[in-house]
Symmetry: C2
Subunit: 210 residues, 2 copies
């Protein structure tokens, strides 16, 4: 996504890649992202205006357009930036890594990115392009981590060679998303070992079919 940072700029100054040596620019970026998420949550996507974001972040519109070509890319970047970090996978076994992925979804239930998910789903009904970009920029990178875990399971012989990785993703994250987001079960009412039970259900099923 940083590839879009310098495209579509309206500024005449040449800009190099972002570097940690530019604290003021980073502070501005944080403020812009913060303002974007706040206004998005308050007013929705359609009513979100770059002008209002600039005012709330205390920057000029040019500062925003220097980094993001349009509202869509700014919103997607903001949502991606605010996601709960997945963290290191334990790497000790297929089971442990899958449990870590489920725990990640469980942990992220209250995050702002997760709270804004229904808003993006809703917007996406009338704006398929936004939906697709949201998929690519925000959801797909996380899904790819889980796909990697499953592919390593196939390579290690823990999953059959013809294992359907995409269906596997759905079997692993679908149940925890359903419990936490659709059903809205409070975290303390979920079984402590819910992640292990979901993962074991999938792995036991595979073992039974061999």
């Amino acid at each position: 996504m940083t590839s879009t940072a310098t495209s579509g700029t309206t500024s005449p100054e040449p800009r190099g890649p972002r570097s940690p040596g530019r604290p003021r620019s980073e502070r501005a970026e944080k403020a812009i992202i913060e303002a974007t998420l706040e206004l998005l949550g308050e007013h929705g996507y359609a009513a979100l205006a770059i002008e209002a974001i600039a005012a709330k972040a205390g920057v000029g519109k040019t500062t925003i357009y220097r980094r993001w070509p349009n509202k869509e890319e700014l919103v997607l970047d903001a949502l991606a930036a605010t996601s709960v970090p997945l963290g290191e996978l334990p790497g000790t076994s297929l089971r442990d890594d899958l449990i870590a992925c489920v725990e990640y979804v469980r942990r992220s239930r209250g995050s702002r990115s997760t709270r804004l998910f229904p808003l993006m789903m809703l917007e996406g009904l009338n704006n398929p392009r936004l939906r697709e970009r949201y998929e690519t920029v925000v959801l797909e990178p996380r899904r790819e981590v889980l796909r990697g875990v499953l592919r390593r399971g196939i390579e290690a012989g823990e999953l059959p060679p013809d294992f359907d990785v995409d269906l596997g993703v759905a079997l692993i994250v679908g149940p925890i998303l359903y419990l936490t987001k659709v059903w809205n079960v409070p975290d303390d009412q979920l079984p402590d070992d819910v992640a292990a039970r979901i993962v074991d259900s999938v792995l036991d099923g595979i073992r039974a079919r061999r």
Copy 2:
């Protein structure tokens, strides 16, 4: 939900229960529900006004308040009424009934009720009461059908006596909801036997643990 139909009425006329012998009243009800769903999709929940619904449906506000005490109950009733009917379960086996439940979720992806789901999730973030009522009136009755299937599986000895029915619901419907709603995989790109594969994954897992 029909129990709310006569409560909170502002009309002085006494009303009996709804009966099939009142075609005009039924036409009005259909028009009101239709107008509610249309305006809800266009303007969201907060901006939805009983006045606008009445105008669109071609009825007086009193006609609406005669049936529904407030906007919340009207919206919930409308969403419940527009859900794709679950239909008869085959009743031939636990597996067949579970597959029918998954196929139901798959089939309902394009329904208006399903399309309005993210809107209700979003509203629910700021309106926990609405979220809870939505849960009770719209989601829970469908979930209860699936719970019934699983309970019959326990009684028939096809599932272990300590089977966690609620986790079972999540394992069965979570993956298909994830594929169709979150991931947004087009129906023709799902495996034809996706319902059977989800159900078999769960049932095989249970068999393996016995």
